[in-house]
């Protein structure tokens, strides 16, 4: 009986060592995954006014009457978040409360932009309680920023310069626009590229030291 216990204990130890190796291999795999997963960010399109360029100054009639000016020197000294949406796009509607909240938190002038028959948009504004925000219907605005996919957001600073822009589908994407502005990069894609080149530059430097 004692011998059977000794054997059983030996088998257990072998299993423990094997499992330790397995855990080590899995941890390495976690590292590989971590390196390969890029952070989520707004997908920046290569079309339209580039980040860092001055945005075109466009004055368009608002849905509620009056006019709204996008681009150029902002009278109130506020940055503008231009949010392109459509009542028929479910993602836009889901994302809308987040955009409103972020615009409030960041102290931005939020301009909602769309295109199409006014009646449909009027119903959308009433349903979502958007009467406090300038809502414009303009084909030209979408064409000026070359918006191809919705929801699309453009961040313009008080001097009328495009800070960040891109296709936004989640809260992370919208917030990445502000992060992009803070870091002075056009998009998360450019940020990753910069990180990559910085890392390889580091490697070269440490190689030279050795």
């Amino acid at each position: 009986m004692i011998e059977a216990l000794v054997v059983s204990s030996l088998v257990l130890w072998v299993a423990v060592v094997a499992l330790t190796f397995m855990v080590y291999a899995l941890v390495r795999q976690v590292g590989v995954l971590h390196e390969r997963l890029a952070p989520a960010g707004a997908l920046a399109a290569a079309t339209g006014p580039a980040v860092g360029e001055t945005s075109p100054e466009i004055t368009v009639p608002a849905l509620a009457g009056g006019t709204v000016t996008v681009g150029g020197l902002a009278a109130e000294g506020l940055s503008t978040l231009l949010f392109f949406l459509s009542p028929t796009c479910p993602v836009c509607e889901t994302l809308l409360p987040t955009v409103l909240r972020i615009a409030g938190e960041e102290g931005l002038r939020l301009v909602l932009a769309s295109d199409g028959p006014a009646a449909e948009h009027q119903a959308f504004v009433t349903a979502n309680d958007l009467s406090r925000y300038p809502y414009v219907l303009s084909r030209d605005l979408g064409l000026a920023f070359e918006v191809a996919k919705l929801p699309y957001a453009v961040l313009i600073d008080a001097a009328g310069v495009v800070c960040a822009k891109g296709l936004v589908n989640t809260r992370e994407h919208v917030e990445s626009l502000f992060t992009a502005r803070e870091y002075g990069v056009a998009s998360i894609q450019e940020y990753i590229r910069k990180q990559g080149s910085a890392r390889s530059a580091d490697r070269h430097r440490s190689g030279a030291l050795r």
């Binding site: 059977a4 088998v11 299993a15 094997a18 397995m22 291999a25 590989v32 390196e35």
Partner: protein, 183 residues
Amino acid sequence: MSALQIDPAIDVAIRGGLALLFAAAALHKLRDLTRFRAIVVAYEVLPSTLVSAAAPLVAACEAALAVGLLFPADTSRTVWALAAAAMFALYAVAIAVNLYRGRRDIDCGCGFGTASEKIGPALLVRNAFLVTVALWASAPRAARSLVALDAFTVFAALAGSALLYAASEKLRGLPSSGRGETP
């Protein structure tokens, strides 16, 4: 317990494990013999006249090994274990030859799935391990009567090693950070 003898419980566990491995391998090969034949051809270690005979022969050998390991006659225990070691060594040689030739892109034919896996040094390590285990089982049995606890030990060791084997095979198929195909 002498160093040159193997405890009967461990002997049963190793034989069971190897038999399981051979049975699964034989079944997998027989199920799709055409594909296995293509793999044998791709290894380029046999003259073309022998290839078509080799594929079913290898599968038959594996099936025979599975049965022989599990139910050995008292006189042939050592022979079956040595034959299993030789089988693993044979595969290792075929893989090593191709690695030496610099042909890494051939399907190893070693997994039980349908996905093709490439050969590599990790496979040689695996086969070296399997050869060692099979050689261990060829040692003479220590005289000890098996008790109820041994049945539990054997069963747990079999289940555990089968799962560990499957997990390590999966890990081998994953890209590693060192030699992954990242740009």
